[in-house]
């Protein structure tokens, strides 16, 4: 082709780059951007809760027990969101609760994802018998309903937030294994892997440098979605009395403590649940946005 001509042709709109394209699709999804902002606020609160919260979450103002929020008859600006049955400030407890949920999410996702990716990569590259063995093992874990298995694991290990996190990480990890293995097997057949092989790339290089980066998109989406699952399951365990123990201001545990006041003081029940819902919803919105932005199949046209 004549170069003088070609330069003149490439004058109009340049093709957008990959990362910019990704951001373009993500930004187009208003729900996802909203989720991102809420999640950012959640992280901010989780980090700075002790500085923002008006009181220590454990201090009991016995004289003000079960005081309603400020906008309701009997409420005061002293306790904006009211107090719980022991007279502790709801707002302070809710803000501090974000710390535990965030902590659970980060730890569980890190542990489950790193373990799952490693095992999944191994299964994808391993000889057939080892692959089959690993996948049967994962099938076994997946045969148990996740919450039940987590519950039983906590029963063995003893109820505490740490044990709850371990249990949830174990339960979530097979999903990463399956996902990673499936993407690895999908990539292994492609020409670029063959060419890397032919070029003499070692097994480790092939696994971590050649193949893994191309499998990351679904794993990142899974990480976002399991972040919310982890928060939900930890709260459920807390609610059943098998997670964080009172007086920890963990949202699920707070709900469990408030159950008997359900018809007398709506705020002690409604607010912690609302906090869980908003957080989980924001993360899921973000996860959906990530998935749509990564997945070219669902893109327009």
């Amino acid at each position: 082709m004549d170069h003088a001509l070609s330069e003149e042709v490439v004058e109009q709109v340049a093709r957008p780059g990959r990362l910019r394209e990704f951001w373009f699709y993500f930004r187009e999804n208003r729900g996802a951007v909203f989720g991102l902002w809420v999640f950012a606020a959640f992280v901010f609160i989780a980090i700075f809760a002790p500085l923002i919260a008006p009181y220590d979450p454990a201090i009991q103002f016995r004289a003000h027990a079960l005081q309603p929020p400020v906008w309701q008859e009997g409420g005061s600006w002293q306790f904006v969101l009211g107090t719980d049955p022991l007279g502790r400030d709801m707002l302070s407890r809710l803000l501090n609760g974000a710390r535990y949920s965030f902590y659970v999410g980060i730890v569980v996702v890190t542990v489950a994802a790193s373990g799952g990716i490693l095992i999944g990569l191994l299964a994808g590259f391993a000889p057939r018998w080892l692959d089959a063995l690993i996948m049967r093992l994962m099938d076994i874990i997946l045969a148990f309903p996740s919450l039940l298995l987590a519950l039983v694991l906590v029963a063995i290990l003893g109820p505490s937030l740490t044990n709850a996190m371990i249990a949830i990480a174990i339960v979530l990890q097979p999903h990463y294994v399956r996902l990673t293995r499936a993407s690895v097997l999908g990539e292994l057949g492609k020409d670029y892997v063959t060419s890397a092989r032919v070029a003499g790339a070692g097994l480790w290089r092939l696994m971590f440098v050649t193949v893994l980066p191309n499998c990351l998109a679904p794993i990142i989406v899974q990480a976002a979605l399991s972040f919310s699952t982890a928060i939900l399951d930890a709260a459920a365990l807390g609610f059943l009395g098998m997670g964080a123990q009172p007086p920890t201001p963990e949202w699920g545990t707070m709900l469990a403590e408030a159950r008997e006041f359900i018809l007398r003081a709506w705020w002690v029940v409604t607010l912690p649940g609302l906090a869980i819902l908003v957080t989980v919803l924001a993360i899921n919105l973000m996860g959906d946005g990530l998935r749509d932005a990564f997945d070219p199949k669902l893109k327009r046209s």
Binding site: G31, R136, L137, D139, I140, L142, A143, F144, P145, S146, L147, L148, L149, L151, V152, A155, I156, L157, G158, S228, L232, A235, A236, F239, L240, G241, M242, G252, L255, R259, I262, L263, W266, V269, T270, P272, G273, L274, I276, L277, V280, L281, N284, L285, D288, K297, L298
Partner: protein, 335 residues
């Protein structure tokens, strides 16, 4: 087809063995002397201790113990509850109909609402209905159902007084329960008001348990439909001049159902996990509540046996879904 079923069965067996291994290991990995742990704070006489050692076979080699356990399981012997002294197997099947009834109701609720919702959303992609429906579905999907249950109780039982808060039926009714399904038994009993009472007890638990499956099915149906609607054969159907109702409801839905049925099958595990919370909150006498109670009572034979039975049930459902998948997907059927 037969070969397909056999290949599914071939993966079922090792998983079954693995599941029995895990439940077998459960009592043995309790920290400390399992028998002392099981006894809890009450303590034990030496005779009772020896009896328990013999009962669990702790004095025998580990492989022999597992063999005994496996043969026992295959014969329906899952040990005896510490608390009620009844066989775990019997207890399980006495409580199972309650859970099954609740789960079926929740599933019907989810499928009946979720499938059409997903189809309509996909067909009206990007329009107001689609956005509203999918936002609602995402809220449902993100719902902490134990909180959702409490909210519904506050509104419908507390403020409105429409629905009862717990149990399966009002205590004034008493009748034999040949099937264990309260809706059916109450209808057959002929007592006036019994059926209405049973049904009103079911409403809130059904909604609570069905919420997440409903959201999942609606979302999955929508995305499966969207994918199918972009296929070449849908263009062919349109080129034939078929009416949209037929294209969406027959040509597209039939193909979209394949992944949706898989999702419905896979949500059985989610459903049982949800049943743990739902039954606990509504005092629903099913296996979910039974498991939680047993964990708190340290009734370990029950926990062990329940764990195994629930896992086996999930596996059987998954196997059925796999076979069903082959039935509706002719590409597998005819191979």
């Amino acid at each position: 087809m037969l070969r397909y079923v056999f290949s599914r069965l071939a993966t079922f067996l090792p998983t079954f063995i693995g599941v029995t291994l895990i439940s077998f290991a459960f009592i043995r990995v309790l920290p400390g002397d399992p028998i002392v742990v099981m006894a809890g704070e009450r303590g034990l006489t030496q005779e009772r201790y020896d009896e328990l050692v013999r009962q669990f076979g702790f004095d025998r080699p580990i492989l022999a113990q597992y063999w005994d356990y496996l043969t026992g399981v295959l014969q329906g012997d899952l040990g005896t509850s510490f608390v009620t002294k009844r066989p775990v197997w019997d207890e399980f099947f006495a409580l199972f109909p309650a859970t099954l009834e609740l789960s079926l109701c929740a599933m019907v609720f989810a499928v009946v609402l979720g499938l059409p919702a997903g189809v309509i959303a996909a067909v009206n992609r990007g329009k107001f209905f689609d956005r509203a429906l999918m936002s609602t579905a995402l809220v449902g999907y993100s719902m902490p159902i134990f909180w959702w249950a409490l909210l519904l109780i506050i509104v419908f039982s507390g403020n409105l007084g429409w629905t009862p808060v717990s149990g399966r039926i009002d205590l004034i009714y008493y009748f034999p329960d040949p099937t264990g399904f309260m809706l059916w038994d109450s209808l057959v009993s002929g007592q006036s008001g019994a059926f209405a009472s049973a049904a009103s007890h079911l409403i809130l638990p059904t909604i609570v348990l069905g919420t997440i499956p409903l959201a999942v099915i609606a979302r999955q149906t929508r995305s499966a439909m969207l994918e199918v609607l972009g296929e070449d054969y849908i263009r062919t159907a349109r080129a034939k001049g078929l009416p949209p109702a037929r294209i969406n409801g027959l040509h597209a839905l039939r193909n979209a159902l394949i992944p949706v049925i898989t999702v419905i099958g896979l949500s059985v595990g989610t459903l049982l996990a949800g049943a743990i919370l739902t039954e606990t909150i509504f005092s629903w006498p099913g296996i979910g509540k039974w498991m939680v109670d047993s964990i708190f009572r340290r009734d370990y034979p029950v926990v062990q046996g329940g764990l195994l039975l629930i896992a086996v049930m999930v596996m059987i459902v998954n196997l059925t879904v796999d076979v069903l998948y082959g039935l509706i997907n002719p590409k597998i059927r005819k191979r």
